[in-house]
Symmetry: C2
Subunit: 364 residues, 2 copies
């Protein structure tokens, strides 16, 4: 990696776009939205879905649809620079073992969009594809599913997590990062699998269990229909995710079981501590409980201020060193910075929003 | 109470409206919205607020503003038929002891809009005002507060809980019920304090603690800002109520402490059971956990169907018996019926929505 000053961003951006072929495995909500978004943005997109029913519409959107995963990986005259696995997590081992037989390991980079990263990397390594792989997770989605629900605008302003480990090749990382920042005009942060999976367990997987426990509690209540009739906004919001397909939720929780287990025990301890304090009328403990999350309230208020006052983000160039780029980018994420683009192959453009970064959530 | 057939609803409705004076104590979000709604609807509304800053606007809205609680209760020539206590719960004992000195117990009925009913009734009885009192709780509100945020539309299509006990006088109940159904064009269900407080703990007070525990868990996480950056819709919805004034939440929880304590222990047990099952990879238990709340999912789907298909509600007349009216109305609420009006002083009009009532939440 050369640290030459390759300015002139427009030029190399367009060159990347027009020269790049991206294979999409699975035309569901995320895969379909991503394929349509990239095709509309000038990329050559080849897609395979386990059933061909979305192909007619996909072809109208400029997506090349093929008959098999094998054809996608080795498409004559156009081996993809990047294959994005958008299939369900449970199909991952089968997809990887089939890909391992046909993928060109020197030219094709492999990524995915799964909500759990350590497990996917294990499966990728087990299939002998670790050297091609960079993990990714776009923080977007809806409660709907399927290509019918696919919508390129799903990726408007989205943040992606890119997950790397000590063996991740920088050039492969850059292929994925540029698809995100240039192909999708999205932002990304770079973290390790463990940080991703713990964070996802905290902000999504564990809360899905909590929401389900709430509707179970109502279901067991003798006056459950009176309670449901009296329920207003707080109940509606807190149980919304419990209404999604419970099989999908269950799969998500199973795949991140260790982190979810830890967080559920933490939550149970917190709830029992409040119950004990209410029982003893220990006002001090209850007061501390309600004050404890103030840094998050301050952070949310800062986000609102940054958005409503249209605070200008601070953009800086971050030259990356081949030996330390992973740590540089992980530290940048920990400072609440986000990668928005590339000055050159060796210089990331990172953005920070002062009001948000100065909020108390960022530790010294 | 006579069971004579007093049809001709329009006539007695208008007579009630034009002849009725309602006193509102406290012009905050709920009291202000209610006062404006009733004044706009032709009622004579007298209001007192502990600080006079909302009076200028309130007078423009046709509300008579007075200088003291004593003047409100004994307003010369116009003692209110009904006083609605819309003050904060913590001010309740003081309001009640002052009212006890001046209220005309024969002509004035007393009600309130607090989110906890057993405690308020205790305070009302302690002030010697039990015979005048009927409890009420409109299931509406926003995260804002104060008369500036008051909005008559807050009461559009709202459901109220009216709480009664064995000593509640039917005529006083009717004054409150008619303010709701005729003054506000709202619906109501009639329940006892305990049923109300347990239901409110389940659908509101306990979930507020759970939401707060979630933001506390994030606050304690070493990668809390990365988690916050990755957070999307599920986290936002599940923690929204944790962003409201923690002092207000704390007061609400303290006032319904016994019910909240019980439910927090139930929730902790449910979360630990899932954690244990994840630890043991006991698929059967996890499957049961995710299936258990299906009656609530079915109920919500039925509500959506009833709304989107504009299902015609079934309306029936329910003649009430002076000896059994409380049980009749409580049983009606348990069947998921709601009172929408009065055919006469002795005949309630109740509404049921077949798709919702047939959903599995209503027990045999």
């Amino acid at each position: 990696m050369a640290h030459t000053a390759e300015r002139g961003r427009e030029t190399d951006t367009m060159a990347d776009k027009t020269g790049m072929t991206i294979g999409i495995v699975g035309l569901g909500l995320i895969g379909g939205s991503l394929a349509r978004h990239l095709a509309a943005n000038g990329y050559r997109v080849i897609a395979w879905n386990h059933r061909p029913h979305p192909y007619e519409q996909a072809r109208r959107d400029g997506i090349v649809c093929v008959d098999s995963l094998e054809e996608l990986a080795g498409h004559p005259g156009a081996r993809p620079d990047l294959i994005v696995l958008c299939n369900p997590l449970k199909a991952m081992p089968q997809m990887l073992s089939r890909l391992a037989l046909v993928i060109d390991r020197t030219t094709t980079t492999l990524t995915d969009v799964g909500s759990v990263k350590a497990l996917v990397r294990q499966q990728v390594v087990a299939a002998g594809l670790g050297n091609c792989y960079v993990g990714a997770h776009p923080m977007t989605g809806t409660e709907r599913s399927g290509f019918e629900a696919a919508d390129p605008s799903l990726f408007d302003h989205a943040l992606w997590a890119i997950t790397v480990d000590e063996s991740t090749d920088y050039r492969r990382f850059l292929v994925v990062a540029r698809m995100i920042t240039e192909g999708c005009a999205n932002r990304c942060i770079v973290i390790d699998d463990g940080t991703h999976d713990r964070a996802a367990a905290l902000i999504s997987h564990m809360p899905h269990v909590v929401a389900t426990a709430l509707i179970n509690e109502l279901t067991d209540n003798p006056d459950r229909n009176i309670a449901a009739a009296l329920a207003a906004g707080s109940w509606r919001d807190m149980t919304r995710v419990a209404l999604t397909d419970p099989q999908r939720t269950r799969a998500m929780v199973d795949e991140d079981a260790e982190n979810v287990e830890t967080l559920l025990r933490h939550m149970a301890d917190r709830l029992v501590a409040v119950a004990d304090a209410l029982h003893d009328e220990d006002n001090r403990q209850i007061g501390e409980f309600f004050a404890h999350g103030q840094p998050f309230r301050d952070y949310k208020a800062a986000c609102v201020r940054a958005n409503t006052q249209a605070e200008t983000p601070v953009t800086t160039d971050m030259p990356l060193n081949l030996a330390t780029w992973r740590d540089q980018l992980l530290e940048s994420a920990r400072r609440s910075e986000q990668v928005t683009g590339w000055r050159s192959d060796a210089v990331a453009v990172v953005e920070r929003r002062p009001a948000v970064v100065s909020a108390a959530l960022v530790r010294a």
